[in-house]
Symmetry: C2
Subunit: 125 residues, 2 copies
DNA sequence: TCCTTTTATATGTTATATACATATAGATGA
DNA sequence: TCATCTATATGTATATAACATATAAAAGGA
């Protein structure tokens, strides 16, 4: 993954049109499947089509800490199997409920974008 | 529409998950269909499922001015049929091209969100 | 042993975007 | 004349994302 000091990759400039706070429901979904820690979650965001090089690692850690403060997840330190200790996160009941409401929001968003795209394509056709 | 001083409607608190700068492609799409002015565009955003009470009118005018500065649209003052003068906007070639690239971006976003939603629903099923 | 890389977490600062509030003014009609 | 509708615009605060950097344990090679 190379986020270390020696890595000089530049994250590509990511274009507009991001979904605000989208990594939040993604993290909650991953945690609804199994407990995990920041670094692993960062890698697994890739499964959602989020280029990990596009993703600011700092943001992931900040979201996790915030979600814990809000009671959506809980964490505890855990010795690393190989490597340094990790903060292991587990989703709570509130977290699951919040994920459900996020899903409704996202479905509404998709429907709005699709309405716009349909109108665009109708004009072209 | 009641945006006047005497209107005490409060815009409902709109939840997270907005698509960043989404009104920009919506405005460009509307302008690709016909020239229009800010106030009319504001009302027509409703057709995209955007609650006009959720939409800050000031944002619409700011986006129009910015897009003009960027050469995506051009404007000229026009006497109002009834009511005050309007700034009438027309889309440019650059604006049409930009709309096309926005559409690609939005299609990519939809596919990412759908991937996430599919995974969520698979877990529930 | 020293140095580099990988794994892992965290925060400071700046830039951008949105939300909220308000100012201005011409036209219309009671 | 006074309220309302139409119409455009900007000031400011807050939220979000982007960019940069700090820290440190463990693993492995020279």
């Amino acid at each position: 993954m190379c986020h270390g000091k020696s890595c000089h990759h530049r994250r590509p400039r990511c274009p507009q049109g991001k979904i605000e706070r989208f990594i939040e429901p993604c993290l909650l979904l991953l945690l609804s499947e199994q407990t995990s820690h920041g670094y692993e979650l960062l890698e697994n965001l890739e499964h959602f089509g989020i280029d990990p090089r596009c993703q600011d690692p700092g943001q992931v850690y900040r979201y996790l800490r915030r979600m814990e403060k809000e009671g959506l997840v809980v964490s505890e330190w855990e010795p690393g199997e190989s490597g340094p200790a990790r903060r292991s996160y587990r989703i709570t009941g509130d977290g699951l409920a919040f994920l459900n409401s996020w899903v409704k929001t996202l479905e509404a968003r998709v429907s709005i974008i699709n309405k716009m795209l349909a109108r665009y394509h109708k004009n072209q056709g």
